[in-house]
């Protein structure tokens, strides 16, 4: 903030064309100070000069389209400098695009973000954010209805109930609030929000909406995200057969709901629905519930989150046909065996939630204009998020982050990928380590994980020839957890005993989603167990679960820089 105060005085000293020159050059190592002034100057001076030049540019760019294309196609082979409307154009204002935009501004790039729907994308409007509101309610009501638990704490609560509309409003209000703050943060930083569907016309050129407004940008990031995936045979009516999009509006609480898919979306909704009084049937195509979780965590989670609740399940079956409720008939679900495809069973339920994952959303993006073919719907990218075209070649100046590339379909992963891209286009090579990105499932209690699962680690170990060790600690041994009377939980560390490398950490227990970051940061920074075990944790806190976990790992003696405490 201090720096920005002194800026107006400095700004005239920075020549206006500087960013044009910079962006056209094949990116020398960034000069952070200079760039920051650039970015902040724009912010401090407001929009009026830009607004004027914008319209001017648009008119100019139209006739010179062919010239632009030829110029930019040659730009892949070391092009002559030329001018663009923006340094960075991001298509899709979800969490990924937002993260990229903020970082781009920080790096001094002139940035615009294109949004064809609402700012905030899936996460804010139809995903993580409203679902957390519902889960906050479900957690509380679960607590208030757990007589045994309350009694053990000496509490007396008379019948707890809920008002469906009130709960739904809470979720909706939260989404609105987050959406507004997201929009405001971009506005205040000077990110142009262009409304309309962004269609790539050619390299470095994007059409906004159906109008003939075309903008050019030196680099383009595709961050169009995903939509709920609905397998064929399933008819979604938005009332009784729904996806997470509809479920988050909580328009009704069915007595019996079938949830197709027992991944984290299904699991979170089962937590919400059972807390609100529904009974749930899981339909899982794989042989085991909660695929994707570490098997041990999955088993414990099943024992805590599924078995004692009003939930039953069918595994190894596909829902081949789902018909919404009509004319007094219930929702009908036809199940077939996942392997033999033989008809297996028919369920009649009050509602069905399709939580079979998410499909990338690339419609109308104009990928054909740049010869990019999607793979299973995803936009192929390399490890630096650079888009790969149908011939296996990199498309210059085009990146794709988030759900649309399918590398890791998590909001914060998209954001991290976006930041990584901005780092690259501002001249600092950066490859994101996806194994350091944590994931969380906000059930009660929560599940969180980072890195490899045990089977994945063992497979890798086999291939690369190293040992894998496992350490576990229980929440039952944690003072804070016991004080909360929430001793159910497990933290599991997968590591290399030879060098102390953390391969994966999985936590199931109270506030697991908040606890994982110590592990994910360690992985991201390459901190080894023998070092992190000396870090001090406040007592009594849940974080001590991880402290115990690191301390219980047995690492062969490796000389370590902080093994001896230094007296100060």
């Amino acid at each position: 903030m201090q720096a920005s105060l002194s800026l107006p005085a400095l700004s005239p000293a920075v020549p206006r064309p500087s960013y044009v020159v910079q962006s056209a050059l094949p990116l020398p190592p960034s000069k952070p100070i200079n760039l920051r002034f650039c970015g902040l100057r724009r912010e401090a001076l407001g929009f009026s000069p830009l607004g004027r030049s914008d319209s001017h540019r648009v008119r100019l760019s139209a006739p010179s389209r062919s010239a632009t294309i030829s110029a930019s196609s040659s730009s892949g082979n070391g092009s002559p400098p030329k001018s663009f409307d923006y340094d960075l154009l991001i298509i899709g204002a979800g969490v990924g695009g937002h993260g990229a935009a903020l970082h781009a501004v920080e790096k001094g790039l002139k940035t615009a973000i294109v949004e064809g729907d609402v700012v905030g994308g899936t996460c804010v409007n139809r995903g993580c954010v409203p679902s957390k509101a519902l889960l906050a309610v479900s957690g509380r009501i679960r607590e208030l209805q757990n007589e045994h638990h309350l009694k053990a704490l000496g509490l007396q609560v008379s019948a707890a109930g809920y008002d469906r509309q009130g709960v739904a409003d809470h979720a909706n209000n939260l989404a609105t609030k987050i959406r507004n703050s997201l929009t405001n943060s971009m506005n205040s930083l000077g990110v142009d929000i262009l409304t309309g569907v962004g269609t790539i016309l050619g390299p470095q050129k994007v059409q906004i909406g159906s109008s003939d407004k075309v903008v050019t940008a030196k680099d383009i990031i595709i961050a169009t995200g995903s939509v709920p995936f609905v397998p064929k045979g399933i008819e979604v009516d938005g009332k009784t057969v729904i996806t997470s999009d509809h479920a988050l509006k909580l328009e009704f609480v069915p007595e019996w709901i079938a949830i197709v898919g027992s991944g984290y979306i299904g699991l979170e909704f089962s937590d919400v629905y059972t807390a609100l009084g529904s009974e749930v049937t899981f339909i899982e195509a794989l042989d085991q519930l909660m695929p994707g979780f570490d098997p041990e965590i999955g088993k414990l989670a099943q024992r805590v989150l599924i078995n004692p609740r009003k939930i039953d399940y069918q595994t190894g079956v596909f829902a081949s046909k789902i018909t919404p409720a009509k004319d007094g008939k219930p929702v009908t679900i036809e199940l077939i065996d996942a392997k033999t495809k033989e008809p297996k069973d028919t369920l009649e339920v009050d509602a069905a939630l399709i939580a079979t994952g998410r499909a990338p959303f690339t419609q109308g993006l104009g990928l054909e204009n740049i010869d990019v073919a999607t793979q299973r719907g995803f936009i192929p990218v390399d490890e630096r998020m650079r888009v790969i075209d149908a011939n296996g070649k990199l498309v210059p100046h085009l990146f794709c982050i988030g759900d649309a590339n399918g590398k890791m379909m998590l909001a914060h992963a998209a954001s991290a990928q976006g930041i990584s891209v901005v780092e690259q286009v501002t001249g600092r090579d950066h490859v994101l380590n996806h194994l350091s990105i944590p994931a969380a499932c906000f059930t009660h209690p929560e599940i969180s994980m980072v890195g490899l699962t045990e089977p994945q680690a063992r497979e890798k170990a086999e291939k690369e020839g190293f040992e894998v060790s496992i350490a576990k600690t229980s929440f039952k041994a944690n003072t804070k957890a016991l004080a909360e009377n929430e001793g159910e939980g497990l933290a599991k560390l997968i590591y290399r005993p030879d060098n102390g490398e953390i391969l994966g950490v999985h936590i199931f227990g109270l506030h697991a989603a908040d606890l994982i970051h110590e592990a994910s940061n360690a992985i991201a920074l390459g901190t080894r167990i023998q070092d992190i075990k000396f870090a001090v944790h406040a007592h009594p806190t849940l974080s001590e679960v991880l402290d115990e976990l690191f301390k219980s790992a047995k690492v062969a003696h490796v000389p370590s820089p902080v093994s001896e405490p230094v007296a100060v």
């Binding site: 600690t473 229980s474 041994a477 944690n478």
Partner: protein, 469 residues
């Protein structure tokens, strides 16, 4: 400071740390089996998961009997004083016999299961498990836990025989004529816990789906009336209770009694009210005397009279299942409470309004015999639409019954007693009179409904000629 803060924490965590790394090794040992048996039947012992652990609770068996185990696989989850731990096997083989069931507790070092090396040895291992659990050398035998009691007691009141599903009064329309059972997830869970055969439960949920309260009602039904009446009709249960009760002991509920308890609580959610009526029975008594020789019983007469009255008042024969609607039953099935040892059951006289009194009496005799022999089929005791409870034979002159969940009304019948009454012609006379008291669900049955029903019933009983047609 840090040291001070940590003192309370470290000991437990240290022991836990030890668990994590050293939990399994002492677990399965061939030591004893080598000494005793030639074949490799190994015992799986309760492991010491922490230094302070003396006994462990089996949370769940990951594998079931007969499953093939390979080294390193989790077999059982054990809850120690600190944590739940998966316990792995250190040998390949077959899980031959589980000696401590889920929920059971075993001392550290005692055998909790047997592991056979080959499939052929499973039977042998099972035999061994049988003998060793009886032997004193098996401290593993768990304390009889409450959870286990239902197994031992086996309340014969609930016949576990496979139900004739076709007889279920209302089946789910999509259940292919009753072949397929449509039950909600929680209902299924409860049925498993309460050992209820879903095939014999009548569903009251949307489209006839079986929901949790149906299962609870089913599990409790035979004893609902008993529980309802214990306050007044002690004599009924006292007979059965005299034998085998140890004074000063606390006996946990059987599964059925637990269900009764829940049902009684559930009945509190139904806004009931009561209407009483005094009915002169001189004519009925005379009729009874006349046709008694033909095998007609008073119970059948009362059931018949009630059914005929219900024909004119369908609302009293209805039920309220969801708090939002009337369920008008298509047939009039009179459930009559009968005391049998250990509880009470409510055999149902189906279509009592249509069946003639002689057939009804024969049917009743058959049902009572079956009830005594504990051979009633589910549809013979859980399809009642209106319940009659008669304690008149014990000399009870009036009492109050609790409404069985799912039905609309229950009638408590007292004894018929000679009473001095003023007759219409201004004289004082002696008439036999009995008091009936109907408890009904006021959401669907209102005071006037019951009053007119009772008036009709009184007319029928006071002029009982219709009963024999």
């Amino acid at each position: 400071m840090a040291h001070l803060l940590n003192t309370s924490f470290i000991p437990s965590s240290q022991s836990l740390r030890r668990n994590a790394t050293s939990s399994a090794p002492p677990l399965i040992s061939g030591r004893r089996s080598r000494a005793q048996v030639q074949a490799k039947i190994r015992e799986i012992f309760m492991p010491a998961l922490s230094s302070t652990m003396t006994e462990g609770k089996i949370v769940s068996w990951v594998k079931s009997e007969g499953d093939k185990l390979s080294k390193g696989e989790s077999v059982v989850v054990v809850e120690s004083d600190k944590a739940d731990m998966d316990v792995e096997t250190f040998y390949d083989g077959y899980l031959a016999s589980i000696m401590v069931e889920e929920g059971g507790v075993a001392a550290v070092g005692s055998a909790i299961a047997l592991l056979a090396e080959t499939e052929d040895e499973i039977a042998e291992a099972k035999a061994k498990a049988g003998s060793s659990s009886a032997a004193p050398a098996a401290p593993a035998a768990p304390e009889p836990l409450p959870e286990k009691i239902p197994d031992n007691v086996g309340p014969a009141v609930v016949p576990k025989a496979a139900a004739t599903v076709a007889a279920v009064a209302s089946t789910h329309p999509a259940s292919e004529g009753g072949k397929r059972i449509v039950a909600s997830p929680y209902a299924k869970k409860l049925a498993k816990d309460l050992k209820v055969d879903l095939g014999s439960v009548v569903g009251s949920g949307p489209l006839g789906r079986i929901v949790a309260k149906d299962v609870e009602a089913f599990a409790a039904q035979p004893t609902v009336a008993a529980a309802a009446e214990t306050s007044v009709g002690k004599s009924a249960t006292a007979v059965a209770a005299e034998a085998g009760i140890q004074l000063g002991s606390v006996v946990p509920f059987t599964t059925m009694q637990g269900a009764v308890s829940r049902n009684m609580l559930e009945s509190l959610s139904v806004p009931t009210f009561r209407v009483g009526y005094t009915i002169t029975t001189d004519e009925l008594d005379a009729l009874y005397k006349k046709i008694k020789s033909k095998g007609v019983t008073m119970t059948a007469l009362l059931a018949k009279a009630t059914a005929l009255a219900l024909v004119k008042h369908p609302v009293v024969n209805s039920g309220c299942r969801d708090g939002k609607s009337f369920t008008y039953n298509s047939s009039i099935n009179i459930a009559v409470a009968v005391a049998i040892d250990g509880g009470l059951i409510t055999p149902v006289l189906q279509d009592a309004d249509k069946v003639d009194i002689y057939t009804l009496s024969r049917k009743w005799k058959e049902l009572v015999d079956k009830a005594r022999a504990k051979q009633l089929q589910p549809h013979e005791y859980n399809t009642g639409t209106f319940t009659v409870s008669n304690l008149g034979m014990f000399g009870v002159d009036r009492f109050d019954a609790i409404l069985p969940p799912g039905t609309g009304a229950i009638m408590a019948v007292g004894s018929s007693q000679p009473t001095v009454v003023a007759t219409k012609d201004g004289r004082i006379g002696r008439k036999n009179q009995m008091q009936v008291n109907v408890t009904a669900d006021h959401r669907i049955i209102y005071g006037a409904d019951l009053a007119s029903f009772l008036q009709t019933l009184a007319k029928i009983i006071e002029d009982p000629k219709d009963l024999t047609f």
